[in-house]
């Protein structure tokens, strides 16, 4: 609070021309406001600071309350079972642990947890190298007349609604991949562990790999634009020093520029991972929506937690016992916990790597 700056006269300051114009009442009001300004500011800041935390606590509490009947019935096995059976809504209602649910209902989230992790990992494996390479080219290599429009395109890509990307994935990218790309992979991958996951059948283009590729397209703008901003922060002196020592361009990039912002890149990757884990609409359109079992190979239809909540909510609401909705709330809880865990782990990694990898001269 710098009183007297910006042309506003502080009380008692001999500022002749304004004092003449200001009537006594107005001056009094201004003085009272001044006296309370600090308190008001402090309180609004406090409320603003607490609000996000309160919202988070509120959301999690409601989720836990809604999910509670499902947590009781589904038990810890919910995390490891591979089944998705809403039971017969037209059959009898049974009670277990005091909770009403349709006879025969049995839920397990393992295929959905696995699907969420699989699509996210595929997306990161594709997106992170492309993003770092692209960001590096934009800041270090390309002339401004190319890099500026390219950078703009990157930001425009980030702004495309996910449902549009999902539709494009379903109607255009999926069929192209299934007809022209996947068969090449499926036919020629050797029958050895890990790589045999890429062997036939390649399916229809709705499935794990397509979902991962589309997710990659959605997180590239996030990771790349963050990384680009990081690269522009690297001061020129260390890079020039590297070149003076006879390093090649590649060595400068690999040993000076990228290590300088390593923790930032990890943070950017965590941002992308967070987006990939929670992305719903685009994924729901292209996973093939298979709930009860994990993907048999990398082309298989599957589903993720977020996509399942979206696609099953309508049907869950027809379960008169409310058990199906409770189970979806439990899924939501798992998703929230996964997202928080990703954030925490990313922070730990950043804390461990920052400073260690930084070259001399960086605090």
């Amino acid at each position: 609070m710098t009183v007297g700056s910006a042309g506003i006269p502080a009380p008692g300051t001999p500022h002749v021309s304004t004092t003449r114009r200001t009537t006594g009442v107005v001056r009094r009001v201004v003085e009272v406001a001044r006296a309370h300004e600090e308190g008001a500011w402090r309180w609004s800041a406090r409320v603003a600071a607490v609000l996000p935390l309160a919202a988070l606590v509120f959301a999690l509490t409601v989720l836990v309350i809604k999910a509670f009947p499902a947590i009781k019935v589904n038990g810890i096995g919910f995390l490891s079972r591979s089944t998705w059976n809403p039971g017969s809504g037209y059959g009898t209602t049974v009670h277990s642990h005091g909770v009403a649910h349709p006879a025969g209902s049995s839920y397990g989230a393992w295929p959905l947890i696995a699907g969420t992790l699989q699509t996210s990992v595929i997306a990161l494996v594709i997106a992170v190298p492309i993003s770092i390479g692209g960001a590096f080219a934009l800041t270090e290599r390309l002339p401004g007349w190319i890099s500026r429009p390219l950078g703009l395109a990157l930001e425009v890509l980030a702004g495309i609604p996910s449902v549009v990307i999902g539709l494009w994935g379903l109607l255009t990218l999926g069929p192209i991949l299934a007809h022209d790309v996947y068969p090449i992979l499926g036919d020629h991958m050797p029958d050895v562990p890990v790589l045999d996951y890429f062997r036939n059948p390649v399916g229809s283009g709705e499935g794990l790999l397509t979902a991962g590729i589309v997710l990659a397209l959605m997180i590239i703008p996030i990771v790349a634009s963050t990384t680009r901003d990081l690269f522009t922060q690297v001061p020129p002196l260390p890079k020039e020093g590297g070149e003076a020592l006879g390093m090649t361009d590649w060595e400068v990039a690999n040993r000076v520029t990228i290590p300088w912002v390593r923790s930032g890149i990890i943070g950017a990757t965590a941002l992308g991972l967070g987006r990939a884990i929670g992305e719903t609409m685009a994924v729901a359109l292209i996973t093939g929506s298979i709930l009860g079992h994990t993907a048999a190979n990398i082309y298989s239809p599957m589903s993720t937690i977020a996509a399942t909540i979206l696609s099953q909510l309508d049907g869950a609401q027809t379960d008169g016992t409310g058990f199906a909705v409770a189970t979806l709330a439990e899924l939501g809880l798992i998703l929230a916990v996964m997202s928080v865990a990703v954030n925490v782990v990313a922070r730990l990694i950043v804390a461990r790597t920052s400073g260690l990898a930084a070259p001399v001269g960086r605090a």
């Binding site: 089944t83 998705w84 059976n85 809403p86 039971g87 017969s88 809504g89 037209y90 059959g91 009898t92 209602t93 349709p102 025969g104 049995s106 109607l171 999926g174 069929p175 059948p201 399916g203 229809s204 283009g205 709705e206 729901a284 359109l285 093939g288 929506s289 298979i290 709930l291 009860g292 079992h293 048999a296 298989s300 239809p301 589903s303 696609s311 099953q312 309508d314 049907g315 869950a316 609401q317 027809t318 379960d319 008169g320 016992t321 409310g322």
Partner: protein, 380 residues
Amino acid sequence: MESNKEESHVTRMLRAKRCVPTTVLAIGLVLAAAAGTASAAQPKLPKSGVETPPAATLTETGSTLLYPLWNIWVPDYTQKYPNVSIQTAGTGSGTGITDATNGTADIGASDAYLSPSEVTASPSLLNIPLAISAQLVVYNVPGVTAHLKLSGKLLSQIYQGKITNWNDPAISAINSGVTLPNLPIVTLHRSDSSGDTFLFTTYLSKTDASGWGASIGYNTTVAWPNVTGALGEAGNSGMVTGCKATAGCIAYVGISYQTQALQANLGYAQLQNGKGAYVLPTAASINAEAAGFVKSTPANGTISLIDGKTATGYPIINYEYAIVNGKQSSSSTAKAVRSVLEWAIDPKDGSSPNYLSQVFFQPLPAKVEAQSVKQILKIS
């Protein structure tokens, strides 16, 4: 809806004001209110068959199968009664039922009747048959132009992954004269909660009681068996586009999507009925099947019309339901809802072939229509 309440309030006030003294005004108000509730409890169907609606804005959500019909009904109904406006949305039967329950929508459309647990959860809900629909089993088998013959047992085996190729002897045995290609079968099912899934799995449960019926059963969403390549698709249109893109696919869609299915070059099957005959879904076979269920249709319309015992009937047909809360928020909304539904099932109006033939639906048999009218008049 808020404005309707105000409006009826205003008319009551006007009516009351005729009895000038203020002391009488209060009594007048009470009387008017009492008269209002009395007439709402026992509405009568006018000779025209359709009550004249008060000004109202109604919302319809639900079944994607019924959605195309609502879209051809609404312009004509609102042209006749311009003081009513109706917003429609194809959201899936589940949302339709939920919206009708909590009052988000005035009319919920569903291909499936209410489950016992839904009735327990909201006892004031009515399921009112509006028309008769059927379900097609469609497929994308290049080179096959004939209508393949399929039975419920066969479909059960296919959807359980026990029959995996179109050239399987079990399929060719009943399709003599058709050259079936060596092509893996890709089964499509609905990923969203669907009345179509309810109909299809009911057919499988009834025709393969010891297999499908015992292990999987019927519902708007079921635990689909683990079949290689099987896909979940959202909505009837998702089924059609998904099947078009996948050679070897098999899927089930509502008959109102027949035109889209044919445009996508999909074939549709002759299904085996309860008497063992293979029948195509036509107006005649749908009406024949429906006729067999008229006697057994209860007053509340809750019945499955699958796999009846009519020799010429098509085995997967169903009533299309309006899910309506029997206790509406205001008597004027209730009257408007009644009017729309009365118009919709009247064979001279909404249920004339002029509308229904566009989506290949059939009108309700006379006795069922009369039962539906009785249910509609319960809305207050």
